[in-house]
Amino acid sequence: MTETQAPVVRQQVVVDAPIDRAFAVFTERFGDFKPPEHNLLASPIAETVFEPRVGGHIYDRALDGSECRWARILGLEPPDRVVFSWDIGPQWQVETDPDLTSEVEVRFVPESATRTRVELEHRHLDRHGPGWQSLSEGIDDDQGWALYLDRYAALLKEGS
């Protein structure tokens, strides 16, 4: 198993902003920079709300008034760090079982008074399905590990 196939996604950017502002933009404007194409609601999104407290949610509210809570705030340490759950399954549907959700940590590291490095880690992706780590054993041509397949399989019931 190589690093690129581990059950984690890591990315970082450096922004020309002091750490306080970098943190505030991330938490207060989340809905303005999140890619819009993965709307889980039937109607277009009117706004995305990031509730700035542990136990709060990140949720989308659609134009028709419906809401989709797709993340739980697990940690909030302004201006250094925020951690939230990723309650979205592999087919972009809301996952209600916390044991089957992954986790996103965002760290804000000052590079100078006016520059901040933002490190994002989306980890425990293997929680979206059980037992994947054993897949590589005994498979000499294995290209990686299985993620989400249990969920995939459940979604196939329409075809049975």
Binding site: V13, I139, Q143
Partner: protein, 95 residues
């Protein structure tokens, strides 16, 4: 029941690649039923097969898995690019 069987097949394939016979021996269904489930999984790109002598060995398809990770990778790449643009823009300070 069909759904439960298919789930059981996927779980067994996470342990190791195996033949229809291996799968059917561990499940309360016929080989024919296992074959039908495998066909659905194969058509969906979740399972692939290879010949080993006269048997066909089925395994989970890691390409489908990597695709999920890639999708999240792209998601965060786009999100952080959008974030960077907002954070770098000094005219946004009043917000």
């Amino acid at each position: 029941m069909a759904d439960g069987t298919r789930r059981a097949i996927v779980e067994r394939l996470t342990e190791r690649p195996q033949s229809v016979r291996d799968l059917a021996d561990g499940l309360p269904v016929t080989r024919s039923a296992v074959s039908q489930h495998l066909k659905v999984l194969k058509d969906a790109g979740l399972v692939s097969e290879r010949a080993e002598g006269t048997r066909r060995i089925y395994r989970l398809n890691p390409a489908a898995v990597a695709a999920m990770r890639d999708q999240l990778d792209t998601y965060w790449q786009r999100a952080l690019a959008g974030y960077q643009k907002l954070a770098n823009d000094p005219t946004e300070d009043d917000r």
